[in-house]
Symmetry: none
Subunit: 194 residues, 4 copies
DNA sequence: TCCTAAGCGAGACGGTACGTCTTGTCTTCCA
DNA sequence: TGGAAGACAAGACGTACCGTCTCGCTTAGGA
């Protein structure tokens, strides 16, 4: 555990905070390092003492937020197959609601490809881990696990994306319920006619 | 039908082609307009005679490809609910296979947020249209149509993304089958054990 | 005498006229060929059919004006030494008054070095010719003729320049008288005290 | 006394030096800012940190040279009427001889109108000041002072111009003598015949 | 009177310079 | 020693102007 000067921590926090604020205000590409430094009340040269590129700061900055989410979710680990529990999804949607402006910027029209990809990959990896834990090595899954994982991840990603862009027309719980329904039962039984 | 100088058409084609090539070779952001102009054997100033920004060329260029796909897909319009027909998805995966390198660049690690968002939105809109046609005004759908549409779109997007990043481990047909299975039946019946 | 299409003559006149107008309105360097073409109601490409550069048009255009002056002056040739005749200078100042705006532009703050130099050299050459004619080969001039010529030319140039820049505070005749006085008698006898 | 970074002074010197060298080598208009930057071993953008335009650098650069001349001349201030002292003129011609190539470029065929005008105006203003000091308020001068001043200034300018263009056929002292003779006695008494 | 060459408008294009902006490095000086 | 201040190199940006070219239209002026 490296001992880090208090000032350094302070500077880094300010930089992270500044970027998160700016991302909400304007397109990520349009943000210059000077912008970040100005907002953080820090000299531009100082930025380079801590981060090599804008992206490095972005990853660091977002990681903090994601980590927080993961901690919350892992506190809910149970034995049930992941898709039969709405808890995960509910926590996710609540988390998004809390950082709404940020996710709006990241997932929306001018979203960050890099971040989008990361999120999708992250969710998929998470699902995959849980699926493997569920199926164990015994019962072979009917479809390849990565496919299952990406199916769920894609659905989550798209629903979250839609939800954010449409200003949260449903509550986190409602979203979680619908998500679960779609993933577990599929759309076939929803025709009403069957 | 606007009459366009042959030279103009030629120049624009070269620019579009150049961008598509470069996107495959390096990160979109790293591509300069000079790069594009060089590759297209065109003066940089000439670029600006036709497009205001790199993005404008990108959209134009990709639209051509998407349009082609849409034409193919619409030729398959049938009366069945979209998710019961694998044809659409199959055509999609084949289309991706044909423009593999391009999609690898666009959907991958350093993918373009803008394009990703566009694709997702495009697929969702497409699904939504078909769902509305299917349900008509009579039978109220069990879940809001946008939700259904985005669920499917997200799944398609994520599976396609995964497929591309893992170098097409399955055939387009196999992917289409699995996709349909997941969407229609859901994962609940796949427990294998039940 | 080359036969020139009426249209050609018309085009060239328009271009010359346009340049002369523009020179009065703004700095010569700031005038673009497009400006000239626009003003002349001519396509830019057409400009190049007639003149290679802006300078070429300038010379052609100004030469027309100078030639006119020379004709007037030569009509006054007499046997007297040039500096004892005010006629030349008077004609010159009257000529300048007639093309006032043009000379203001050419001799003023943002005057054209090229044209200034040309004018000075032209006057000097003119003086030199007359001086040589006057001295003949007999009486050796007390000072080298080129020196004498440039002295007079410089004085004319400077006085004209000053006169134009100060909005003609004296009549052409007055200027001519003063010029002659200065050149012939010098300033030594003007001490007022002697 | 403003404190200026040593680097800044160095950069500016290099830029001024570069321009002075280039002016000798080719037409001022043909000199690009890139040329200047290259010659000064400085980045083009750096040029703009110090000067807004080529003209600004030119003025700054030439002013340094002129100032030097003025200092020399003012060290010779005496009570005599300016035109009865050859000292000023002599210093001037010597100064020109020292910066010969530069003046060749500035006064010659492709001279700079702006600079020519400046020089003429500068000399005239200088003369005017001395004339006013000489005449005081008492004796009214026989001719308007500005006219006298411009007469002398024009002569100086033209003789210097001719001298430079003809590769200094006389010594600075000889030029000064002739100049004084012309200005003081005029040409009337030089006819030899009178 | 026709027809044929020339003048010209329109505008795409390669090229060059411009002035601006951002980045990353460096140096100097302060707390 | 961490950071402020800021000069600088590097290089992309979007714009402006230049000179050249090609393509049609029109419009004399000779057949």
């Amino acid at each position: 555990m490296e001992k880090v000067d208090r000032r350094i921590r302070r500077t880094r926090n300010q930089l992270g905070q500044a970027l998160r604020e700016l991302i909400i205000e304007k397109s990520y590409e349009a943000i210059t390092i000077q912008d970040i430094a100005d907002r953080a009340d820090v000299n531009r040269a100082t930025f380079y003492l801590h981060y090599g590129t804008k992206e490095e700061l972005l990853v660091t900055s977002l990681t903090e937020i994601f980590d927080e989410l993961v901690v919350q979710m892992e506190a809910q680990a149970e034995g049930k197959p992941p898709w039969e529990s709405m808890v995960h999804a509910e926590i996710l949607f609540e988390h998004i609601a809390e950082n709404f402006a940020l996710y709006q910027a990241v997932l929306g029209q001018n979203g960050l490809g890099y971040v989008m990809h990361r999120i999708l990959a992250y969710i998929a990896a998470h699902e995959e881990k849980e699926l493997r834990a569920y199926f164990g090595d015994a019962a072979a899954p009917p479809l390849p696990i990565p496919i299952l994982a990406h199916h769920v991840a894609g659905s989550i990603f798209a629903l979250a994306s839609w939800w954010v862009e449409n200003n949260r027309p449903y509550s986190p719980t409602e979203m979680a319920v619908m998500l679960q329904q779609l993933c577990v039962q599929g759309m076939g039984t929803l025709g009403g006619n069957s």
